[in-house]
């Protein structure tokens, strides 16, 4: 009962292997072992009278779905899977930073155009926030379009970048460093045009300025919360896109017709289960490619969606750390405001160090936890995927609580003494920001890429 469509076993096995490889938790040696198993199983089933595609479908089904296998191997070897995830998280952080640099001018332009037009402050604030969100939505839509197409060239570029972590890191560093200057020159070029739109140069009403400031403050908190909520929502969406039934069609489509009971018993005599026999017989009856379900590809879109989940997670995590740890650390510097310059420098340095140390400790703690407790971290992931809305609400409530608490703390600490940021403090804030946003992510990216590469190159003992 050969299928009419030509079936290339080697091609099918290559595809199967590539799908598993793309899920990211299996090493080359483990893939070798599983492929050996699959070949062995196929030849036994073929010898018992199944066609090669049928044998492939049954053997692959017995081995387990790609997702099941990947999940089990992740539990057994969490370091590898988490290294790759961390890599995408850092990449997401860098992309988010780059996007915010690019996205910054648009709300700014909108603001410049309308701020002097005498509009209501609340309207202006809402307009500014919406313009910012629109830039982000546009960027996300573009990114989605970019990753959901099949593109060999793009995949090749990503692979090449991963193979050359040092060059990639240097390129990213220079590129991201240049981006703000580029944007500034674009703004300068656009200035004469902007002047035409600005029209009459009425001074900004101080009351409007105050309303605008509070809109910017609460708007940024709202944006952060949206980031946080996006993680489980996107994870849930990616999960639904990725998870496909183990066999195509509903189970009822595998019910046998009266005449097929005999053939099913014969196949069961060959060591097939009733399900497997039904799958084969239904495939023969409808002359459908029985191999289809086993070979259904892990789509590019699904793969990139999962990467996007980790990228957003990385950006959201760092934003959370920023306002829950790094910003409060500035209280140290604020407390010493009226002191001598040297003391102010020391306190500011201490603030930068304290913020970074605390954030680093939290990240290291999280890393240890996910490595040591793969089952628990997997169940958190499961909650995010199966109940995305509940998880999003829980995260938003927790983060909003931290955010409001922190705002109150900072307002209390800075509020009465806030007569200007102070030159020394603002200088150190700039240094700290550069360190956090550029140097550390790129250093992390380099380190993770090297680690990932060394795991990838882990050779099979016999080679």
């Amino acid at each position: 009962m050969e299928n009419s469509a030509p079936f290339d076993l080697d091609q099918a096995l290559r595809q199967w292997r590539a799908n598993l490889h793309n899920l990211g938790s299996l090493r080359a040696e483990e893939l070798d072992e599983l492929e050996g198993h699959l070949r062995e199983s196929i030849s036994v089933l073929h010898a018992r009278g199944l066609s090669v595609p049928e044998a492939f479908a049954i053997a692959a089904g017995r081995l387990g779905s790609e997702r099941q296998l990947s999940a089990e191997f992740t539990k057994a070897n969490p370091q590898r899977a988490w290294t790759e995830r961390a890599l995408w998280m850092v990449a997401g952080l860098l992309v988010a930073d780059a996007l915010s640099v690019v996205a910054h001018p648009l709300p700014d332009i909108v603001m410049k155009c309308v701020v002097r037009s005498g509009l209501n402050g609340h309207l202006l604030g809402a307009l500014d926030l919406l313009a910012g969100w629109m830039v982000w939505t546009g960027a996300a839509a573009t990114a989605y379009w970019f990753v959901s197409r099949r593109s060999l060239r793009r995949d090749r570029v990503v692979q090449a970048c991963l193979r050359q972590p040092v060059l990639t890191g240097l390129g990213l560093f220079i590129g991201l460093k240049c981006l703000p200057y580029l944007m500034r020159s674009v703004m300068l070029l656009a200035d004469p045009v902007m002047n035409v739109f600005r029209g009459h140069q009425a001074p900004v009403n101080p009351q409007t300025a105050a309303i605008l400031n509070s809109w910017i403050l609460w708007g940024s908190l709202l944006t952060e919360l949206l980031w946080v909520a996006a993680v489980p929502l996107l994870a849930g969406y990616a999960w639904r896109k990725r998870e496909r039934p183990a066999v195509s069609g509903s189970p009822s489509s595998y019910e046998l017709q009266p005449g097929e009971q005999e053939a099913a018993r014969a196949l069961q005599g060959q060591g097939l289960s009733l399900d497997e026999a039904s799958l084969v017989l239904v495939g023969r009856r409808s002359s459908r490619e029985v191999v289809d379900p086993a070979l259904a590809q892990v789509t590019d879109r699904g793969l990139w969606l999962e990467r996007a989940v980790w990228m957003v997670t990385g950006a959201a995590l760092i934003h959370c750390l920023e306002w829950s740890v790094v910003t409060p650390a500035w209280i140290l510097a604020v407390a010493t405001r009226p002191a001598a310059p040297l003391l102010q420098h020391l306190a500011a340095l201490g603030s930068v160090g304290l913020g970074l140390t605390l954030a680093g400790a939290i990240i290291a703690g999280l890393w240890m936890w996910v490595i040591r407790h793969p089952r628990q971290s997997a169940s958190i992931g499961r909650v995010c995927r199966l109940r995305p809305f509940v998880a999003a609400m829980a995260l938003v409530v927790v983060c909003a609580g931290i955010g409001c608490g922190e705002y109150a703390l900072v307002a209390y600490a800075i509020g009465p003494a806030n007569n200007g940021v102070g030159a020394i403090r603002s200088q150190w804030m700039t240094y700290g920001g550069a360190l956090r946003h550029l140097l550390i992510p790129i250093a992390l990216l380099l380190w993770l890429a090297r680690r990932w590469r060394s795991m990838e190159a882990d050779p099979a003992p016999c080679r």
């Binding site: 198993h37 199983s41 099941q68 089990e72 191997f73 057994a76 399900d275 016999c462």
Partner: protein
């Protein structure tokens, strides 16, 4: 695929399969070195098809046992020309097997006593 109800009488529960994997692997390997596919077939034969592993799930367990030094592995070329990873039990593995054996026998004997006095339990 439909499953569960149809097999619940014959097949072992998921939890019992998970708990018995390590002693089963150790017991098979105690009889001599073996590779993944043959190991699964052996267990399936001996259990008369009632212990059905999702085959791929065995490998992470084997690798974990290798890391715990219960077994050791070696890539070799088989007579068919295929490269296979053969697993062999180590001294630590035999000790673990001894402990596992005692524990499983204890459960077995206890249940046996109970079921002898209450023969109509099922």
């Amino acid at each position: 695929m439909p499953s569960g109800a149809m097999y619940s009488v014959r097949m072992l529960s998921k939890e019992l399969v998970a708990a018995s994997t390590v002693p089963l692997v150790l017991s098979v390997l105690a009889q001599g070195e073996n590779y993944g596919y043959a190991l699964i077939q052996r267990v399936r034969e001996l259990s008369d098809g009632r212990i059905e592993w999702t085959e791929g799930m065995l490998y992470p367990v084997l690798h974990w046992m290798e890391k715990e030094k219960l077994i050791e592995a070696e890539w070799r070329e088989a007579e068919t020309g295929r490269r296979r990873k053969y697993y062999r039990i180590r001294k630590e593995g035999r000790a673990t097997l001894g402990t596992e054996r005692e524990q499983w026998l204890t459960v077995h004997q206890t249940l046996n006593h109970l079921w002898k006095t209450q023969p109509r339990l099922t």
